[in-house]
């Protein structure tokens, strides 16, 4: 498969996933806003989650609901807004139309058209419309993943797409946990203190994890159990461990190396990360500091992303 094509599919799925996650962040906060009991809904942490807070401050100043929503959804000059994500995703899809299925192309194309239409309609201030919109973004993203799964041969290109989607998802789950946890429990000694259950429920919901969390062993909501679920659950599809495990499988499908072995540096980085997640406990994580752990996790995932680039996509270094 052409390096350029693999690269485009990887970013295609990654950007669709990113758009979905942005919609999740904002949607959950909007829902909190509607609960009169939680008077302290903050918007700045959402921007903090994206890692682009300084840029936001420069451009918009105060983090009001409207500013944040505008920035994260329809700001064409902000590369990680939903609108920009879809534009880039579609551009990538267009450049590999001959490789992906027509159904995938049509789905990402109509997804993009839906978002641009919404951006042009100027209905931003209408809460019902905007909530509906985020719902639709999540749905379209799921539709895209489903169409891809059902219509594209599970070949090398498909596996690159999987890796893109899963790395992005793991990264976003880690980010949202990091920021929320920090706000809700600034220091490890607060573990076990009274918690704002609504906020924790919102955190779970933003990862579509609330119902699944309730169903697994620990039905009660406790910060530690929530962190454990989102980082280490083996079966929940948005947990970091689940994403990393499946990304590793896709990587080994591409290289042909059996899982558990490594030949090239990227296999080693990802395998090691997966293995750490397999054996670490939530107690150990809390002990070393959740924030420090997540921070380290994110830089290791970035490292994997970089190595994927140099191994497969970089045009200069192909042997």
């Amino acid at each position: 498969m052409l390096s350029r094509v693999a690269d485009s599919i990887y970013w295609l799925t990654r950007y669709v996933e990113r758009a979905e996650n942005v919609a999740r962040f904002v949607e959950v906060n909007l829902n909190l806003l509607l609960d009169s009991s939680s008077a302290t809904t903050q918007w700045e942490p959402i921007v903090l989650t994206t890692g682009d807070l300084p840029l936001f401050r420069d451009r918009y100043g105060e983090a009001t609901a409207e500013n944040v929503i505008r920035f994260l959804t329809f700001d064409a000059d902000y590369p990680n807004s939903i609108l920009s994500c879809l534009r880039i995703a579609r551009e990538n899809a267009r450049s590999v139309r001959d490789v992906i299925s027509s159904e995938m192309w049509q789905q990402v194309n109509s997804f993009y058209l839906m978002v641009t239409e919404m951006a042009q309609s100027g209905h931003l201030s209408d809460l019902a419309t905007i909530l509906n919109f985020f719902e639709e973004v999540k749905l379209q993203s799921h539709l895209f993943a489903g169409v891809m799964d059902a219509t594209m041969t599970h070949n090398e290109g498909w596996h690159f797409g999987q890796i893109g989607r899963l790395i992005e998802r793991a990264d976003k789950t880690a980010r949202i946990l990091d920021v929320k946890y920090y706000i809700l429990l600034p220091s490890p000694k607060d573990v076990g203190s009274t918690l704002d259950e609504l906020q924790w429920m919102a955190l779970l919901k933003s990862a579509s994890a609330y119902e699944m969390y309730r169903k697994q062993g620990a039905h009660r909501i406790s910060p530690m159990a929530v962190a454990e679920f989102l980082i280490l659950d083996r079966e929940f599809p948005r947990s970091v461990r689940s994403c990393i495990t499946r990304a590793e499988r896709s990587l080994h499908h591409i290289t042909g190396t059996p899982v558990g072995n490594w030949r090239i540096p990227v296999e080693r980085s990802l395998g090691r990360l997966r293995s750490d997640l397999d054996y670490i406990t939530i107690e150990e994580i809390i002990q070393q500091g959740l924030h420090e752990f997540l921070d380290n996790l994110q830089s290791r995932m970035n490292e994997v992303g970089d190595k994927i680039f140099t191994t497969f996509f970089s045009l200069e270094t192909v042997a």
Partner: protein
């Protein structure tokens, strides 16, 4: 309104002999349309446009830096070509392509046709498409031009003419295929009752044509389509054809010349490329051999090509036969190489570099269409009868300054086909671009792209100038 009110006027109409009298081959269609009623026809027209947009059958608009894509406006009233007409056209097109290929092979080797003074040598040497570095090239099987889109028109009397040859990278065949797909869902019942020749064979024939270029000893040659990228106006077509053939769509940056071969950069290292269907003009394909500023091509490609280690369709240098002055000599080529008369005549053409003809052109600018020899896409044209005196004067100066670069032709009254304009049937002028493939044999895809001038009274059918398209139905022989 229905078709009973449609008046073909003083034009050759492809569907009607006169008001209320459809041509025999069009009767089932007209009956069906009348039975559906105008409202339903309009509804289907809208549905067809939406389907094309959703399918992403688009072209890019150059001037627009937003990368806007548009669909080629599509009109659902098809154009019908009778079986008898098609038999003649098919024969005539094969004859023409055969002669043009003989010419290309000759002009880049022995140049017999120049030595025998059938075509003035200075005309060939001064053609912008004539590439000196291609002298002595020996493309596989001696075929230079594998893919052609020849523009045909019909005048007021129904006579067919060749308007121009497109031997470099003719576009539009993807619309033929996608328009047909939409039309089948728009008028399934008409397809059911009329016998219409299928067009869907084109991608397989194209792949065969390309595979035919690979050296015999390769069991599984690698064929690619080379595109300038997603910002090219015909990008949709490039990806569509690659997809339909199941081959890789590559850009210049995916390719590299190493070890004397052309290779593409894949996730598993370099992989050899054997055949290129290039959709990049000659000038851009190798910055080492041609334009040094080109970012689209592959440095060193020409050398590999010359060594016969990669095949290219169309061969580099075919543009010389695309020149509008050289076009006027095609009937002479047919006579010279084949000893036959041209089956489809050229439009009468005046060559401005001949003093006699130039003075005729200058005296009749208000009646003629002037075209510059090396341009295409409706650019660099003067439509005399519709031009202002100032525009005509400007062209007169250009012609005098650079006579080699201009030809003139009488303004033909192009034939018309009804199209839907402002919710009514209106006669609109059309041309026809059939697609011809030259591999082991010559294959002419039945029909072609009918381009239609969707502005009232306009003669300009180019998509860049507000034209649209129609499906073209070639009726099967009884």
């Amino acid at each position: 309104m229905n078709f009973n009110d449609y008046d073909p006027g003083d034009f050759y109409d492809e569907l009607f002999i006169q008001q209320g009298q459809p041509r025999p081959e069009a009767i089932p269609l007209i009956e069906r349309l009348n039975a559906l009623g105008m409202e339903e026809v309009l509804r289907r027209q809208k549905a067809a446009q939406i389907a094309l947009f959703k399918m992403g059958v688009t072209f890019n608009v150059y001037s627009d830096n937003q990368g806007t894509e548009r669909i080629l406006p599509f009109d659902i009233i098809p154009r019908i070509v009778s079986a008898d007409d098609w038999t003649i056209l098919e024969k005539g097109l094969k004859q023409r392509i055969y002669a043009l290929n003989k010419f290309l092979a000759d002009v880049y080797s022995d140049q017999k046709i120049l030595k025998d003074s059938v075509i003035p040598a200075e005309i060939v040497y001064s053609a912008s498409g004539f590439l000196k570095p291609c002298m002595g090239l020996q493309p596989p099987e001696g075929i230079w031009c594998h893919i052609t889109g020849t523009d045909l028109v019909r005048d007021r009397n129904g006579q067919w003419y060749v308007l121009e040859d497109n031997l470099r990278c003719p576009s539009g065949v993807s619309y033929v295929l996608e328009n047909r797909r939409v039309m089948k869902s728009t008028f399934p019942m008409v397809f059911d009752t009329m016998k219409i020749q299928a067009v869907e064979e084109y991608p397989s024939q194209l792949l065969e044509t390309l595979l035919n270029l690979a050296p015999d000893h390769l069991s599984d040659p690698t064929v690619v389509v080379l595109t300038p990228g997603i910002y090219n106006s015909a990008y949709f077509e490039h990806s569509f054809l690659a997809q339909q053939m199941g081959v890789q769509l590559v850009e210049g940056r995916d390719l590299v010349v190493t070890d004397g071969y052309l290779q593409m950069r894949t996730t598993k290292g370099l992989q050899r490329v054997d055949v290129i269907y290039r959709r990049i003009d000659d000038d851009f394909i190798d910055p080492k051999a041609f334009r040094p500023d080109s970012m689209l091509g592959v440095p060193g490609l020409m050398e590999v090509y010359r060594a016969g280690k990669v095949a290219i369709a169309n061969a580099l240098g075919t543009g010389v036969a695309d020149d509008k002055v050289i076009y006027s000599y095609v009937p002479d080529m047919i006579r010279y190489y084949l000893g036959e008369e041209a089956i489809i005549p050229n439009v009468p053409t005046f060559l401005c570099w001949e003093p006699h003809q130039q003075s005729h052109v200058l005296a009749n600018l208000d009646k003629l269409v002037v075209k510059s020899a090396g341009e295409s896409g409706g650019y660099g044209m003067l439509v005399g009868p519709h031009a202002t005196p100032a525009q005509r004067e400007e062209f007169a100066q250009k012609i005098k300054a650079f006579p080699r670069n201009y030809i003139a032709q009488p303004t033909l009254c192009l034939s018309r086909v009804p199209a839907i304009i402002d919710d009514q049937f209106e006669g609109c002028h059309v041309d026809l671009r059939p697609y011809i493939l030259y591999g082991k044999n010559i294959f002419v895809n039945p029909g072609g792209l009918t381009r239609v001038a969707l502005r009232r009274g306009s003669l300009v059918v180019n998509s860049s100038q507000g034209g649209g398209s129609k499906d073209t139905w070639v009726v099967c022989k009884e």
